[in-house]
């Protein structure tokens, strides 16, 4: 059936005598592999060498603080709504007097938990956040876990450390 004018028929060509005799094609293939034998391996020796992850790699989550060290998150819950895996849970609380240096907005997340095994690293939470509070770090991957008890990351693991700030030079 001819449905478009772009058809290109690929004929199965007859085998020539040389091809029927196996050996020339085998020799050709072996030459190719031999060529690779002497090439430099492309392997990245992982634990010692790290691979370039790209400027916007979606790695471990981080809850950003602003310049003054106050948390940006306002516990609006958009990230939790946007999460297709329903991995984010939070409990919001009103900011009290005297906590302005800790929390930028009037509401903050008292509890902010991400289940790292549920998370699918789609980046929708980062996109959903109107306060640019949550990011997926491009320079750090989530570590592996030995047991189920370790997998829920609370604020202790998520909030940015002011001594080791996360900067993203890439997009956004």
């Amino acid at each position: 059936m001819k449905l478009s004018n772009k058809t290109k028929v690929l004929e199965q060509e007859e085998m020539t005598l040389a091809e029927r005799m196996y050996l020339p094609a085998i020799a050709g293939g072996m030459l190719t592999t031999l060529k690779h034998f002497f090439q430099k391996p492309v392997t990245i020796r992982y634990p010692e060498q790290k691979r370039y992850l790209g400027p916007i790699y979606r790695g471990q989550h981080i809850l950003k603080k602003d310049e003054q060290g106050a948390e940006r998150c306002t516990a609006c819950g958009l990230c939790a709504v946007a999460c297709p895996a329903e991995a984010i849970s939070m409990v919001a609380e009103e900011r009290k007097k005297g906590e302005e240096h800790l929390y930028r907005e009037e509401k903050y997340a008292k509890v902010y938990e991400i289940n790292m095994l549920r998370c699918i690293f789609c980046g929708l939470c980062e996109e959903a956040c109107p306060k640019q509070a949550i990011f997926l770090r491009h320079d750090k991957m989530v570590p592996v876990f030995n047991s189920r008890d370790e997998v829920i990351f609370g604020k202790d693991k998520l909030v940015e450390n002011m001594d080791d700030r996360y900067l993203r030079e890439g997009w956004k």
């Binding site: 059936m1 449905l3 772009k6 290109k8 028929v9 690929l10 085998i26 996109e127 109107p130 640019q132």
Partner: protein, 411 residues
């Protein structure tokens, strides 16, 4: 309505194996899968064999059934991208963008030319990645491991391009309603160009290792063939249908995302056997390279997303400053966009064939019903017919040349 005669389907004439013909030989049943290495861990075939000849096979699927369609009824439209990612995971950008185009059709969004071209580039890269896997796994299943690793290096390169654009390797979650979420960075363009110039060498090398090697040809020619007529009746699409000689390609027949702008050929095979499928996939990679080259050469300037504030997330700075943008941002994230009531069907040429999205919307934040037309699911039913009478080895390479992707098969 008895005046309509119920005849003339090619399916009618196909006879079951004659019951009267007795096999004097002892038959054995062999359980192929679900953890057999060649099924790639996903489906089961119970083969009835006479020695090494397959008499019959019974398929069981659903081993990774994840209820996509049910999930889709509970998720806002934009979150469904994460599902389509995991459908044909070898070429997730195609699935993503097919879904986005479906929604754009429903919402009536006009996507700017640059975004369309970017989509084309990404989709064709994804197609190459998909076909690389299929063709090289076919080689692995015939025993040639090394060629697989040569081309897989270039799949890594494709993943690096994805990473530049969206930050993930496999499940990309790439693109948004109305365009892309980011423009190409200079690095991405450099990498695509590098890929365009270097990949042909690797592909040629891979083809030189297997394409005209008699062992490989003997293994594949005349194996697992299907006629064009039967293939159509079985609902084949994509490379598997084209291998059977029917040049149905959604890109050529119903161009979407400006495919009409590009020059490319639709390769078709002649006999529909495994070797033809291999050839068609191989040639499609070359055609994809052609399309990417054209798209890169003619990449228009302009915005990379549509100017549709109701549907496309505003930039973060805007959200912070501008009340209107903030409202839109909330509405979009909550999924409260004004989707019209209606039904829309859109299909794209996925890695395995016509990937269709049938979306029934009742105006709510989630689809009322979303039916994925998964090409794998439909053509995999022909497998018993294709392997009947061949040997176990044939069945295995037929399976891998059909490129049955579990995620797409079982959703």
């Amino acid at each position: 309505m008895s005046d309509v005669a119920l005849v003339s389907s090619p399916n009618v004439g196909i006879a079951k194996p004659e019951e009267s013909k007795k096999y004097v030989n002892e038959l054995t049943t062999l359980n192929l899968g679900p953890t057999h290495p060649a099924t790639h861990g996903i489906f089961q075939n119970i083969l009835t064999m006479d020695g090494e000849t397959i008499i019959d096979s019974e398929q069981t699927v659903g081993y990774i059934h994840r209820a996509f369609e049910k999930i889709a009824e509970r998720r806002p439209l934009y979150q469904i991208t994460t599902l389509t990612d995991r459908m044909n995971y070898c070429s997730s950008p195609i699935n993503n963008m097919g879904w986005h185009m479906t929604v754009e059709k429903l919402l009536g969004i006009e996507v700017p030319k640059r975004a369309q071209y970017m989509r084309v580039i990404m989709m064709e890269l994804a197609r190459i990645a998909d076909h690389i896997i299929c063709n090289s796994i076919l080689a692995v299943d015939t025993g040639a491991m090394t060629g697989f690793l040569y081309v897989m290096q270039w799949r890594e390169n494709i993943y690096e391009i994805y990473e530049e654009l969206c930050g993930a390797r496999l499940t990309t979650n790439m693109g948004r309603f109305g365009g892309m979420e980011r423009d190409f960075s200079a690095e991405a363009i450099r990498k695509i160009k590098h890929f365009l110039s270097e990949f042909p060498k690797a592909l040629r090398e891979f083809e030189s290792m297997v394409k005209r090697n008699r062992i490989f040809m003997d293994r594949t020619i005349g194996v697992g063939g299907i006629s064009g007529e039967r293939a159509l009746n079985y609902g084949f699409t994509g490379p598997n249908l084209r291998a059977a000689g029917i040049d149905y390609d959604v890109r050529a027949m119903n161009p979407y995302s400006s495919y009409e702008d590009f020059e490319f050929d639709v390769p078709v095979g002649t006999t529909g056997d495994t070797y033809d499928r291999f050839l068609v996939r191989g040639e499609e990679m070359w055609q994809s390279l052609r399309i990417i080259q054209q798209a890169m050469d003619n990449l228009p300037e302009g915005p990379y997303h549509a100017d549709a504030p109701h549907y496309y997330l505003p930039p973060k700075q805007e959200v912070y400053r501008n009340m209107e943008a903030l409202i839109y941002h909330f509405k979009i994230v909550m999924g409260e966009i004004d989707a019209p009531v209606g039904e829309v069907y859109h299909s794209v040429e996925g890695g395995n064939g016509e990937l269709g999205f049938y979306l029934v919307s009742d105006g709510g934040r989630t689809p009322y019903r979303l039916k994925f037309r998964r090409p794998c699911y439909i053509y995999y039913q022909a497998f018993p017919e294709m392997i009947k009478g061949s040997t176990l080895s044939d069945a295995i390479i037929t399976m891998s040349s059909m490129n049955v992707i579990a995620g797409e098969l079982d959703t």
